[in-house]
């Protein structure tokens, strides 16, 4: 059992290319782990707030991740919904990279 607020290992930092996203599931929950063009890592809820579609299959562009289903967009740094039909924000999660391993605080 993971406690709330615990750091959980996601992957090694070379597992996600810049401007790509990866699906990460932990127990019942699922997250989208995003790497920006500059190489920084971010994490938000995995499923779009419009319908239950995973965002990791969407396009990453600038600070935005776009849902593959109907192209609602979110700022992956904050989880904020940015373009219709997404209008409900997602949660963001803290990320840290330690010796080339990416951790998420969930």
């Amino acid at each position: 059992m993971t406690k709330i607020g615990e750091w959980v290992e996601v992957c090694t930092s070379d597992a996600i290319a810049p401007e790509e996203a990866m699906r990460f599931s932990h127990g019942e929950r699922s997250f989208a782990i995003i790497r920006s063009l500059e190489g920084n890592f971010f994490a938000i809820d995995g499923h779009c707030s419009h319908e239950k579609v995973h965002l990791a299959d969407g396009i990453v562009d600038g600070n935005i991740i776009e849902c593959p289903k109907h192209f609602g967009t979110f700022d992956y740094r904050t989880g904020e919904a940015r373009a219709l039909p997404a209008c409900v924000d997602l949660r963001r999660y803290e990320i840290k990279v330690d010796s080339n391993v990416v951790f998420i605080k969930i």
Partner: protein, 411 residues
């Protein structure tokens, strides 16, 4: 006096609701009145043939906006009210109940309604169409294991209902008048894939099946074909397309052509009246022809553009048409529009799916149609959409080669 007039939107679907929000967000200081003939808050139609029929419990319509948000934006929403006529001499609309409202600018976002079958139908029959939440509830209540459903029309709505019904244990037959499914909408190879999914799921599909009439026989409805065959059903769903709701505009003397005729800025033949969504026809710069679309994204995007232009912005609507449909666990996405004169290039992604690209005679990419898992097709269709908008002429062999990334052809 003029300042006291309101921005009035007729029709509270995708287009009308998006417009009302955009009018307020665009800075209109006066009244915004959204009038819709349905009694609920505005809702999304696509789930009506999908999740709403398959989910264990009816979770109600998926609303486009909350009552709280309407209040925050000071949008006056008149639900369950029909607009009966437009008086262009006085810039007023008359409502069912007799009230008159004056408009500064008017948006007609009246949508479309299901086309009727045009054959004799016994009024006792259990025959339904699907456009509203109430229609979906009626279908949902009939769907139970073992019940017989006949779907007339192998178009998107009919096929989605067939998939939903068979997943609820119904025994489903689709009757399509054409020689194959989705004749005008998707290429033959993709139609074959979609058909195979339906057959696997246990849906029976009859092609070249022209319906001659529907009779009530005991507790059932009997659908008979021109060739003499007949199919009994507990429920008959008619999905043979939609017709635009143009009557209000027509009675007011506005130009009608395929729909309520608009310019590329979505103004009708009266500069104070705009139109958007399923009821609207407009010239598309990319395709050089007038078209009317019946697709979800177009509806809300046009609503937003019409609103901006009602406020005087004057921007042309030129989005690439985009459509999706869900068929079981797979998805279909189409960007752009193609015709018979375009060359079809097939990109075979094996079991995972397929994308068909269309190049105009001048080499320009004009459409891309993908079917498969969302993860397999969506990124490439999205990139193709941008390429279509930018009039890119990609190499045909490269498009067909799955080893070459579509992204690398985008510039």
């Amino acid at each position: 006096m003029k300042q006291e007039r309101a921005m009035i939107v007729v029709g509270a679907g995708e287009a009308g609701t998006a417009a009302a929000v955009a009018l307020r967000q665009g800075g209109w200081p006066g009244r915004v009145i959204l009038i819709g003939s349905e009694a609920t808050l505005p809702y999304e139609r696509p789930p009506l043939s999908k999740g709403l029929l398959t989910e264990g419990e009816d979770s109600g319509p998926k609303f486009l906006i909350t009552a709280q948000r309407l209040t925050e934006l000071a949008i006056d929403y008149l639900a369950g009210v029909n607009v009966l006529s437009i008086d262009r001499a006085t810039n007023t609309v008359s409502l069912q109940g007799g009230e008159l409202l004056a408009y500064e600018r008017l948006l007609l976002a009246t949508g479309a309604r299901p086309r009727t079958l045009g054959v004799p139908v016994d009024p006792e029959c259990r025959m339904v169409t699907l456009r509203t939440y109430a229609d979906a509830v009626a279908i949902r209540q009939t769907l139970r294991p073992g019940c017989g459903v006949v779907v007339i029309g192998g178009g998107f709505i009919g096929l989605e209902v067939a998939a939903s019904a068979v997943s609820r244990g119904a025994s489903v037959t689709v009757l399509e008048a054409g020689p194959r499914l989705l004749m005008r909408a998707v290429p033959a190879s993709i139609a074959e894939r979609i058909k195979a999914k339906h057959l696997d799921a246990g849906v029976r599909i009859e092609l070249d099946a022209t319906v001659a009439g529907i009779e009530a026989v005991e507790e059932q409805s009997l659908v008979s074909l021109a060739d003499g065959r007949s199919f009994p059903a507990d429920l008959v769903l008619v999905g043979v397309g939609a017709v635009p709701n143009v009557e209000l505009a027509q009675a007011a003397g506005l130009a009608i052509e395929k729909g309520i005729a608009a310019s590329d800025t979505l103004a009708t033949s009266d500069p104070d009246i705009f139109t958007a969504g399923d009821c609207c026809s407009f010239p598309h710069r990319l395709y050089g022809e007038r078209m009317r679309l019946e697709v979800w994204r177009n509806a809300w995007q046009q609503g937003a553009i019409a609103a901006a232009n009602m406020l005087g912005l004057g921007s042309a609507y030129e989005s690439v048409p985009w459509f999706w449909s869900d068929q079981y666990d797979e998805t279909l996405q189409i960007a752009g529009i193609y015709s018979n004169s375009d060359a079809a290039i097939n990109r075979d992604l094996g079991d995972k799916g397929q994308i068909c690209f269309y190049l105009a005679p001048d080499g320009r990419l004009v459409a891309a149609c993908g079917f498969g898992s969302l993860a397999t097709i969506s990124k490439d269709i999205r990139i193709a959409e941008t390429m279509i908008g930018r009039r890119i002429r990609p190499d045909a062999d490269a498009l067909a080669n799955p080893a070459i990334a579509i992204k690398s052809l985008a510039s």
